[in-house]
């Protein structure tokens, strides 16, 4: 099996609302603003869009969005499963639709008030009991109080620490990197508010071994990305960010956030599956990546992602991080927008927009000589990843 759509499509436009804690607006209103901004960025009239891809937990139907945008006919529309795990999956599906000829211009979007309306971090405590498989799966954790995303991830983190000698300070170093980039990003919630490792260590426990500063924000806002062929993108306003490849992955004995029953729980095999597909189809390797957006809903799972993509050996991410390789002048600066801890938590889509800016050379924290950018999606769920490249 090999992905046939490598280098075929590109991200031609990016658009977002301000990222806030209380938007005072509906998510639909913000979705429309972000989509219009993405079209405006690309210089494409919105009525030319004929495909929409979003991902589960999205509450703004694409048909209503199309109506608001003045889109009359749609030939591709899909919803990718598994929330933040699908952040790059929506791009993969857009590539598939475009490569197959099902659509010409596809908007991928996310919009919500997950701070001022329903707080995402509250978890599944209010989920009613039922007999469907999706409901029954929570019975193996919720009755014991393991009900929040932070708690699901913490279980992996404890075992990772035990096996590899990583410490909560190693998690904190990821947080410090994110907040350092956020401090110089005017769009970031934590603009001009960097933290020290000491701040991290002094922040309160959420679910041990996770502290407050290991957890991403909850945000009100919207982000949209416009995908079309790399060929058509050349005729639009911006330098295209070519999608070298985009892939999804779910691995053996996969569970939603709680794949605790595998022989080992310190790796992320579904991310390894994405890495293999990306590298094979694009012909690229870890050495070709200058900067990356590593999904950071919770800092501990940044470490095994670095290992799955081959930036360091298994269990050695802590050393890679201690050596400063994720920082501004490091081997692999990550999350140059401030990540989801520093900028905003738009379920990974704002990170992909930052990847596009790194290709364009317009990031507020621009890395020099960027040829290829890796972006990953939510971990512990079935996931996805992509590589953006300079146009040839």
């Amino acid at each position: 099996m090999t992905l046939k759509y490598a280098y075929h499509s590109a991200i031609a436009g990016i658009g977002a609302t301000p990222f806030t804690k209380d938007s005072g607006r509906t998510p639909m209103d913000q979705a429309v603003e972000a989509c219009l901004a993405a079209c405006e960025d690309a210089g494409l009239p919105p009525e030319k869009v004929n495909g929409f891809v979003t991902y589960s937990a999205e509450q703004n139907p694409e048909i209503e969005l199309a109506r608001n945008l003045g889109v009359e006919e749609m030939t591709h529309f899909s919803m990718v499963h598994h929330g933040g795990g699908a952040a790059c999956g929506v791009i993969a599906v857009a590539c598939q639709a475009i490569y197959s000829g099902a659509a010409d211009y596809v908007l991928c979007y996310r919009a919500f008030n997950e701070r001022s309306w329903h707080r995402f971090g509250a978890g599944v405590q209010d989920r009613p009991a039922g007999a469907e498989a999706s409901e029954v799966s929570f019975s193996w954790s919720s009755p014991f109080g393991l009900v929040t995303p932070a708690s699901w991830v913490a279980m992996f983190a404890t075992r990772y620490m035990h096996e590899y000698g990583a410490t909560t300070e190693d998690f904190g170093r990821v947080s410090v990197v994110d907040r350092d980039f956020a401090a110089t990003n005017p769009y970031a919630h934590f603009f001009q508010r960097p933290i020290t490792l000491e701040d991290h260590q002094n922040s309160r426990w959420i679910v041990e071994p996770l502290r407050l500063l290991d957890c991403c924000q909850e945000t009100d806002g919207a982000q949209a990305l416009l995908v079309t062929t790399a060929e058509r993108a050349k005729d639009l306003k911006q330098k295209p960010a070519v999608i070298a490849s985009a892939a999804q992955g779910a691995a053996e004995d996969q569970h939603m956030m709680r794949s605790y029953y595998r022989d080992s729980i310190t790796g992320i095999p579904e991310m390894g599956l994405c890495a293999r597909q990306l590298y094979q189809s694009s012909g690229l390797s870890a050495d070709d990546i200058q900067t990356a957006i590593i999904y950071d809903h919770f800092t501990p799972l940044v470490l095994p992602q670095l290992e799955e993509f081959g930036f360091c050996d298994r269990g050695e991410a802590k050393d890679f991080i201690r050596d400063g390789h994720l920082q501004r002048d490091g081997r692999l600066p990550i999350n140059t927008n401030g990540g989801q801890l520093g900028e905003a938590y738009i379920h990974g889509l704002n990170g992909i927009a930052e990847g596009v800016r790194q290709i364009r050379g317009t990031s507020v924290n621009q890395i020099e000589n960027v040829e290829n950018v890796l972006a990953t999606a939510g971990t512990a769920v079935p996931t996805s990843a992509l590589i953006l490249s300079q146009p040839q």
Binding site: M155, T158, W205
Partner: protein, 467 residues
């Protein structure tokens, strides 16, 4: 006599109580010599399997050369048994208890016991105890009620006049019903919503039916024997749809864990220990680790399942630290370092344990076996007697150190009562090593914690063999 006293009356009352402080009472001689049946009864009730107490062959090989009594039994030998108590007004301590009873301080709990062992008791030793009244405090407000602490010191001699041991002992005599009212925590617990109810269907009912009857059931393929959790509808190993289950032993180890602090769901107590337990059969499950402080959790620790009822028709399999088997050999002085931690040991507080140990220690106080009387005297239920707290502490330390460790003393202080259906988890660490009088002494500090807080804290000095 139980009306509220004026300050002047209180002062006069305390002066009266203290009149005999420093005086020694009439020696009291044990009705029976140290004997094997009482020792065996004690060991059975305490689950203390040290062979030096009951096995003549092992005892001959041991450091004492013959059967000895568990040292913590020191004051059991002279206990009066189940005969009506007549407080002797001529006796300094007994007289104080009588005065306090008469004044309405009828509630009684022991708070401190400090044994010193000069030599272990052997079969045939006949003890005589002489009690000195050491102190009576002013009236104090305690969690249990308003009362006075009374301190005594007892010297024990055998029939040859040998000084075999001594006991420093403190009790609280209090007025029932004058304690601090139920804490707001208690009210919250009463109004606590139930935990999230497990969703279930035909594929998973066997698991919940099992936990309802105290069985931890793990799905097993009936064709190839493959075990899996959570359950599925088809065997991932062989493809068979003939799925059954086995009943797991309940033994496991902690594979990973978290301690949840925020957000707080009202159904749970926080911080909340949640573990990923690997069963000895090889599968894992998410569960709670109970009867264990968050900082006592360690990957790899041995655990044992129990079932916690959360709804009328739902019980959850949860785990607590497993009791580590008794050490059959004895630690040497050189093997032990300051800072060494003793393995955790849970002691489920069944009514049987509380009642049988009270009787085995010849403590017939009704509050230790008669719930109606316990309630009447201001307690929530029957509760464990202090001799048992000593006995279980000694068992815990002895099971770690080994049969030949010699107790030089055993000092405990009680806190939260041990009520039935709770669990007390023992923990301890080595806090000092020294040579004294030609012996190699190791000091162990220990604690027994129940759901309300520390029940017992204490220290013990053990003489260990050099090599």
């Amino acid at each position: 006599m139980s009306e509220v006293m004026t300050d002047e009356q209180k002062e006069a009352f305390v002066a009266k109580l203290r009149k005999e402080v420093g005086s020694t009472g009439t020696p009291s001689t044990a009705r029976d010599p140290v004997n094997q049946p009482m020792i065996r009864h004690w060991c059975d009730a305490m689950e203390d399997a040290n062979p030096l107490y009951t096995d003549p062959d092992a005892a001959t090989q041991g450091p004492h050369g013959e059967i000895v009594a568990p040292p913590a039994m020191l004051n059991a030998w002279t206990m009066p048994g189940n005969i009506p108590r007549v407080n002797d007004p001529q006796d300094p301590a007994s007289g104080v208890y009588a005065m306090l009873d008469e004044a309405g301080y009828v509630g009684v709990v022991a708070t401190n016991s400090e044994h010193v062992y000069h030599r272990y008791l052997k079969l045939g030793d006949r003890l005589t105890g002489t009690v000195k009244l050491v102190d009576v405090t002013e009236e104090k407000q305690t969690a249990l009620g308003i009362g006075h602490f009374v301190t005594t010191e007892t010297e024990y001699l055998n029939q040859h006049g040998e000084h075999v041991g001594s006991m420093f002992f403190r009790i609280l005599k209090f007025r029932p019903g004058t304690g601090r009212t139920a804490s707001s925590d208690g009210d919250a617990a009463a109004e606590r919503p139930p935990r999230p109810r497990p969703s279930r269907n035909q594929d998973t009912d066997f698991f919940w039916q099992g936990s309802r009857v105290g069985e931890l059931r793990i799905q097993q393929c009936q064709n190839c024997g493959y075990l899996q959790h959570p359950p599925g509808t088809r065997c991932p190993a062989c493809g068979s749809t003939d799925m059954g289950y086995i009943t797991a032993s309940g033994e496991g180890t902690l594979y990973s864990y978290v301690v949840s602090h925020h957000p707080r769901v009202p159904s749970f107590d926080y911080p909340l220990n949640i573990g990923l337990v690997e069963l000895e059969e090889g599968v894992r499950l998410v569960t709670n680790i109970t009867d264990c402080d968050p900082d006592q959790l360690k990957v790899g620790m041995p655990l044992r399942a129990w079932h916690m009822q959360t709804h009328e028709d739902v019980s959850l399999p949860v785990f607590r630290p497993a009791r580590v088997p008794r050490n059959p050999s004895t630690l040497t002085f050189d093997e032990v370092s300051v800072g060494d931690e003793l393995p955790l040991c849970p002691i489920p507080l069944t009514p049987t344990l509380i009642v049988s140990t009270a009787i085995a220690s010849r403590d017939y106080q009704d509050v230790h076996h008669d719930r109606d009387m316990a309630l009447k005297k201001g307690s929530e239920d029957i509760f464990m007697n202090i001799l048992t707290s000593s006995g279980l502490s000694a068992r815990y330390i002895g099971d770690w150190a080994g049969p030949d460790a010699v107790f030089k003393n055993l000092k405990i202080r009680l806190g939260a009562p041990n009520y039935p259906y709770d669990c007390m988890t023992m923990s301890g660490s080595v806090t000092a090593k020294r040579e004294a009088d030609g012996e190699d002494i190791v000091e162990v500090s220990f604690r027994g914690q129940n759901s309300r807080g520390p029940h017992v804290t204490g220290t013990v000095d053990l003489a260990l063999p050099r090599a």
